[in-house]
């Protein structure tokens, strides 16, 4: 841990096992002098009566922003997707199975209570109780034991070694609540305390004066609302009714920039919409069919026409090019009708009608389906596009037909992506494929202490997915925020909109 004193840099850039020292903001943010005070209104794209103050149940962007205002995790991701300390001062482990977490001292909850190891133990273990209905119950199952080994020290023992624990703990769902809060109602240690909370309507946070980071947060008040309609959201920004919005349609960028007093921030992210071809169904289980489809996608066209350039070309594996573990040596799959024709002939599928399910629930999937259908027709493959409603799509269609579309949000680690979506017994092994070598590599990477070797292992896994798995990932979709240009201190964090939903303690208002 770097030395005493609470300068902004030392407080944040402490040493974490597995993560190097990293300066937090960009140079310009450090140079500009932040100003205290001011109040902003932030509008996200979704809100409902399911809105929650329980971190374990957080599931949509509005929840993440709310949780990020009110609570904090032990760690937080930085702009390079590496975990840096938040409520933890350090996380250390010799064998990556037993972790000693040293907690920050002098942190108080909004109700005035001291933050101690008991709160951490309670917050982490509640995910294992089915009644909590935690989104991360599957991951929490890997905590073999969590116990307080001191007033400000927690020992976490995992069921198996996992070098990614610091990153896993940075997820909003693992934010720390007060011991005994079975239904948390906003008593966190975060920069803002809850003033009003009406599910489906709004959340008002007011500056928490006893926040542990001196001088933070800069703003006095943040009101969080949701405007589901994109046009209304942009109008509200331009009319000055709110100062920050997310999920801006690429088509609206020109309108926002033309106003002169507003800007957009595009965050390249790991979000993707993938075409899923089930390994256990016909004809999608045929490798020739999968290869043909992968060569029927005009990726630059998808990027240009669907996202107006605000996307990163994908290569049928889930790690985006800006990720530290990205393998740049896998040849890029491109539109190749001749090759697709050859594979279709090999699979004996010329003229066979194959149904394909798409839905507005999976962003961009309806247009992608049309593009693939068009090129498929040119290569002699007849795809029947079924457009189904967004309502109920995930529970009734996704992965339930031979060809459907999925939509995968950025995950904090490569391990989570691979183990949830590609491991043989993963919760959402979308294609239902089984690859022994892949599973073995996944376990190896978890316990591998050497960073360079881990990168190599993840590189090979990307190649296996690219070559063999039945998922076509045309592009990674950038997230676009719009904001009043008086708001300073924003920079993209690839995990989500609004600086990975954690803008509240970083931004200030330059009046």
């Amino acid at each position: 841990m770097s030395g005493g004193g609470f300068s902004r840099r030392t407080a944040l850039a402490g040493g974490l096992a597995g993560a190097g020292l990293l300066a937090f903001g960009r140079a310009q943010d450090v140079l500009a002098v932040p100003r205290r005070g001011g109040s902003i209104r932030v509008a996200t794209q979704s809100s409902s009566t399911a809105d929650t103050l329980d971190p374990a149940k957080a599931s949509v962007s509005t929840d993440y922003v709310r949780i990020g205002m009110v609570y904090e995790g032990l760690t937080t991701p930085d702009a390079n997707l590496r975990p840096v300390p938040a409520l933890a001062e350090s996380l250390e482990s010799r064998d990556r199975q037993t972790w000693i977490v040293k907690l920050r001292r002098g942190v108080t909850f909004h109700d005035g209570g001291d933050f101690t190891a008991d709160d951490v133990v309670f917050s982490l273990l509640r995910h294992k109780d089915p009644a909590t209905a935690s989104k991360l119950a599957g991951i929490a199952a890997e905590f073999a034991s969590v116990r307080a080994s001191g007033r400000h020290e927690v020992t976490i023992r995992l069921a198996a070694p996992n070098a990614d624990l610091p990153a896993i703990l940075s997820q909003p769902q693992f934010a720390i609540v007060r011991k005994g809060d079975i239904h948390p109602r906003g008593n966190g240690t975060g920069p803002f305390r809850v003033r009003h909370f009406q599910p489906g309507v709004r959340t008002v946070g007011e500056r928490f004066a006893d926040y542990w980071m001196p001088g933070r947060p800069y703003l006095d008040r943040i009101e969080l609302i949701a405007i589901p309609d994109e046009v209304s959201r942009v109008n509200a920004l331009l009319a000055g009714d709110c100062q920050m919005i997310n999920a801006v349609n690429p088509r609206s960028i020109r309108r926002i920039e033309a106003s002169g007093s507003h800007r957009v921030m595009a965050t390249p992210s790991g979000l993707y919409t993938d075409l899923i071809m089930r390994a256990d169904a016909a004809p999608t289980g045929n490798p020739h069919f999968v290869e043909a489809i992968k060569h029927l996608i005009d990726r630059p066209l998808v990027k240009r026409a669907l996202f107006r350039g605000h996307a990163t070309i994908g290569n049928d594996q889930p790690i985006p090019p800006f990720h530290p573990y990205y393998n740049p040596n896998i040849p890029q799959t491109t539109l190749d009708l001749d090759r697709a024709r050859w594979h279709i002939a090999k699979a004996g599928l010329k003229g066979v009608r194959v149904p394909l399910y798409c839905s507005p629930a999976a962003e961009g999937s309806v247009d992608m389906a049309s593009i693939i259908q068009e090129f498929g027709a040119q290569a002699g493959l007849e795809l029947a596009v079924n457009r189904v409603p967004a309502d109920g799509y995930w529970s009734t269609h996704w992965m339930r037909h031979p060809m459907t579309f999925g939509n995968v949000n950025p995950r904090p680690t490569a391990d989570l992506l691979f183990s949830q979506f590609y491991k043989s017994n993963g919760d959402w092994n979308e294609t239902g494929w089984k690859n022994e070598r892949f599973d073995r590599l996944l376990a190896d990477a978890r316990s591998q202490p050497d960073e360079a070797l881990r990168k190599e292992i993840y590189g090979e896994m990307q190649r296996i997915v690219h070559d063999k798995a039945g998922t076509a990932i045309p592009v990674f979709i950038s997230l676009i925020d719009g904001y009043d240009k008086r708001i300073k201190g924003l920079h993209p964090i690839p995990l989500g909109a609004f600086m990975g939903y954690r803008f509240s303690q970083h931004v200030w208002l330059d009046a």
């Binding site: 009566t49 405007i227 009734t396």
Partner: protein
């Protein structure tokens, strides 16, 4: 007016009893209607794909999590059992607990219902007099310039979809002129002035939608009466025209007008969904849509009951007014 003549005085109690009888019968049939509606809503929403547990956990649900949450929400019991339990709750005036928000349905509705009533109230206060004025003016100047202009106006109001009216209103008054907020920021903290400013555009849009129907109905009803013999007689007797319209024609035309008004106003509560969406207005209609998408059965049922009851009540009021205004219907 009846009290002045003895022969009418005898009839008055009879009229009152007719109305009481009608209200009693209507109340009974309303209860039956509500029961049937609740069964239909429960059955049909049960046919929707997915349940509250799946929708809450979303895309990332694992079968084990779904099963656990289903048990926690009580969704693992058979449908009829859940329905009977809900019905029992309603009979004890307890609409139950929202499955998704983990709050009593009563509290959620208590937050939203006043907003919806306020929006409907403001709109009614503006739209009803406006529609009457337009309808009467058009009827009086039947065939003239005023009539043609008003007919054109009302017909185009019917034809233009409300999302267009709302969006144009926002572009002009909020984004360009910066006069009015583009979204409705209704909250307990806001001052009355702020609330009125917030509601200005939604009320304008809704007025646009409901006024046309009422105005056209008023015009038609008035014209039918203006042609009647008693109007001519009154004119020949030298009764001022304004008095004829308001005192003689209006009571006779009021039945169909109130009927049209009741239908239009019932739209304001449940049908304001587009306006609620565009202006982000925290009302009941969007709450119900929310309840449908999250499969939150108790909340959905309560919203359906409120809309249904409001509709029945408005129609009942329209009938009572029609009877009161027209002694012939009391028989």
């Amino acid at each position: 007016m009846a009290g002045a003549f003895p022969q009418f005085a005898r009839k008055a109690p009879r009229g009152a009893s007719v109305i009481l009888h009608l209200v009693g019968r209507r109340a009974a049939s309303a209860l039956l209607t509500l029961l049937l509606v609740s069964i239909v809503v429960f059955t049909i929403s049960g046919l929707l794909p997915g349940d509250a547990a799946q929708e809450t956990l979303g895309q990332s649900a694992t079968p084990a999590q779904v099963a656990a949450l289903r048990h926690e929400m009580g969704l693992d019991r058979p449908g009829p059992v859940r329905y009977v339990q809900w019905l029992g709750g309603i009979l004890r005036a307890d609409p139950g607990q929202s499955l998704v928000a983990n709050m009593p349905v009563r509290d959620i509705i208590a937050e939203r219902l006043p907003n919806s009533l306020m929006l409907a109230g403001f709109t009614a206060v503006i739209a009803v007099p406006l529609a009457l004025a337009m309808g009467i003016a058009a009827a009086v100047h039947r065939g003239g310039k005023v009539d043609r202009v008003l007919s054109l106006a009302t017909l185009s109001m019917v034809a233009v979809p409300e999302f267009l009216v709302a969006t144009l209103g926002v572009l002009v008054f909020s984004v360009k002129l910066l006069w009015l907020p583009s979204i409705a920021l209704v909250s307990s903290e806001a001052s009355l002035g702020d609330t009125i400013r917030s509601c200005a555009l939604p009320v304008m849009t809704l007025t646009f939608v409901v006024v046309a129907q009422m105005a056209r109905m008023t015009r038609a009803a008035m014209i039918a009466q203006l042609d009647a013999g008693y109007v001519e007689m009154a004119e020949l007797k030298g009764v001022p025209f304004g008095r004829i319209v308001l005192w003689h024609v209006m009571p006779n035309a009021i039945g169909p007008i109130v009927n049209a008004a009741a239908l239009s106003l019932s739209y304001l509560l449940g049908g304001a969904i587009i306006v609620e969406t565009i202006f982000n207005f925290p009302g009941l209609a969007s709450l119900m849509v929310n309840a449908v998408t999250s499969r939150d059965m108790p909340l959905l049922q309560s919203c359906a009951m409120i809309f249904c009851a409001a509709y029945l009540l408005l129609v009942l009021i329209a009938d009572v007014v029609a009877i009161l205004s027209n002694p012939r219907q009391r028989a």
